[in-house]
Amino acid sequence: MIRRTVRFLDSRAGVAPLAKRALRYVFPDHWSFLLGEVAMYSFFVLVGTGIFLTLFFEPGHARAVYHGEYAPLDGVRMTKAYASAVDLSFRVKAGLLFRQTHHWAADVFVVAIVLHVWRVFFTGAFRKPRELVYYVGILMLMLALLEGYLGYSLLDDLLSGMGLAIGNAVALSIPFVGGNLGALIWDGQFPGGDAFWSRMYIAHVLLLPVAIGALLALHIALIVARHHTQFRGAAKTERRVAGLPAFPGYAPRSVALACAVAAMLFLLGGVVQINPIWLWGPYEVAQATNGAQPDWYLGWLIGALRLMPGFDVTIGSYTLVPNPFWGGALFPMLVFGFLFAWPTIERRVTGDDRYHNLLDRPRDNPWRTAVGAAFMTSVAAVFFAGASDRFYLSFGIPYGPQIWFWRAVALGGPFVVFFAVRRLLTEVKREEETPAPSGFDAG
């Protein structure tokens, strides 16, 4: 029967040569190469659960009075968006499971991407000829952050509403164009017109998922075109790649990983509560709650906003650069700018313009590892600063001194870490037998 199917497909679509190559495509087999797949499978769960949610969610700012099952909101005026999310949580069977799984999948999606980017960075996988793969990947990371932000903001609960106010402030703070940009996106003054809500919905359920999906396909196509990198080993050289064949070796492992990701996400989605919007209540412009936070992957932005000293750049009584610009716009631009520029920076500084199919172990390249560690120190410090109120409440560390501490670590920490890590790894490298430098020149 298999023979008949294969013959049929080959005569109708000519797939046999492609299928043969695909089945025996070589997958270098290190466990750290699976992190990108964890992200990809999280994305699949996002799309699947997301489709379910779109069948029940009512976007938009039309108002209604809630008379549903959840008594503490009975008689409260709220948007249809919020009401339908509450109904999804309580009235739709398995609705809360899918809502929570979808949200956990978004959080885990970005965790996996970050782990994957760390692996790619610290092993030098972004080097020639794979710079394009890397750029597409960083672009996907940016889109994933935006997609997540839009997703939880659609529900119009108190926490995400406050988050949108801050997003609006960051848009407004961009010099020259900020005022118009903020009013354009929000269809007027915050909290925005009806057009803002429908555009946000379409961006989240159609435009961004398609963009991420297309970029993902491009990312994988580029990897296949140049083949995956590998660590040095027996039979593993710059010229020959070794590993498991796609079939029957790699396929069951990859599907096993997919099932494990789905298992983790559905388990979390059922057992650990996330974003209990019925407890937060609907968003109103005049209301706020203490301890409001964005989802974890935007924690660096709330940290940056809190760390900035309080000044607007002004001339006389005219404001030129409002305060949120530095933490909310410039800081992420610098971080992503660094990530995009890194392959070029490394190439210029090391003068290494060779092809690399072999990966470095992090300790093989003390300079790059030290730079990466220093960079992460700064970003992590800003992240933790975002939770400084929580640290105060849980551990009693006073808030004001904490802000100064995180500023010091974010600005000065990288230098300390850079020198310490480089020193340490250089020592380690000297003690080990140094392998021949990798890479080769084409032609």
Binding site: D29, L34, L96, L257, V272, Q273, Q287, N290, G291, D389
Partner: protein, 247 residues
């Protein structure tokens, strides 16, 4: 006859002060107040101005507001929550076990109340509606105490979590405005509205957590920790189980 009269006088002399004390019921309270509270609030309840030259052996300078006219409302609130007695006037009062036995506590409260002032409002939970309480709480309280009463930071102080507050204490705090909390009078939050507000706060102590483990309702910070330390760690382990290592 004369001896009998003397004896009667003696008995009366002994019993009278106690009888007088029992009649106005504050002598026990007065004694406790003087030993436990007067150092900061003044023996005459008119308060004590901070005077660095009067720094105690423990390094703390006694200071405290006047208590004339604070009434049973404040006395009962502060003593039952353990906010008072306060060790260090410079520190924010913290909830703790009451320092007094029930009997002593009532005595001190009676003493302070004898100088006049408001009583604890009567809370009738049946009259209140949780949804009305939610609206009131988000408007007036969530900014400091967090929308489900988990507490929060405000510059220079802490808005305490409300998980241990009783109905009486919630009503008392609203009417007092303790420490740096605003005070909400009957004109702003009527007694009826207060019933709803108390109902809501009590609800937040055990809210509907249909989604599973609530992570203490702290929101995205704890969710992020779970995403990294549970999901991230587990999936890393799965990846290691599936893939090879460098030999």
């Amino acid at each position: 006859m004369r001896a009998l009269r003397l004896l009667l006088a003696l008995v009366l002399a002994l019993v009278a002060p106690a009888a007088a004390g029992a009649a106005d019921g504050t002598s026990r309270g007065r004694g406790l107040f003087f030993s436990g509270c007067a150092e900061c609030h003044g023996a005459d309840l008119t308060g004590v101005q901070a005077d660095p030259s009067r720094r105690g052996a423990d390094g703390k300078v006694p200071a405290g507001p006047p208590l004339l006219g604070v009434g049973e409302l404040a006395a009962d609130f502060y003593l039952r929550t353990g906010y008072m007695p306060l060790d260090d006037p410079e520190e924010q009062p913290r909830r703790s076990k009451p320092s007094y036995s029930e009997r002593d506590l009532r005595a001190v409260v009676r003493f302070v109340a004898s100088f006049g002032g408001p009583r604890t409002p009567q809370v009738d939970l049946a009259r209140g509606r949780t949804s009305a309480g939610l609206k009131l709480f988000v408007e007036n309280c969530a900014g400091c105490h967090q929308v489900v009463g988990a507490g929060g930071y405000l510059t220079g102080a802490e808005a305490v979590p409300l998980d241990q507050a009783t109905a009486r204490q919630i009503a008392q705090a609203v009417r007092i405005g303790p420490y740096v909390m605003p005070r909400f009078s009957e004109r702003q939050i009527s007694d009826r509205e207060l019933d709803s507000l108390v109902r809501y706060v009590l609800y937040t102590q055990d809210p509907r957590d249909s989604g599973g483990w609530s992570l203490e309702h702290l929101g995205p910070v704890s969710e992020g920790i779970v995403a990294w330390l549970v999901a991230g760690a587990a999936l890393l382990l799965v990846a290691r189980a599936i893939g090879e290592r460098i030999r």
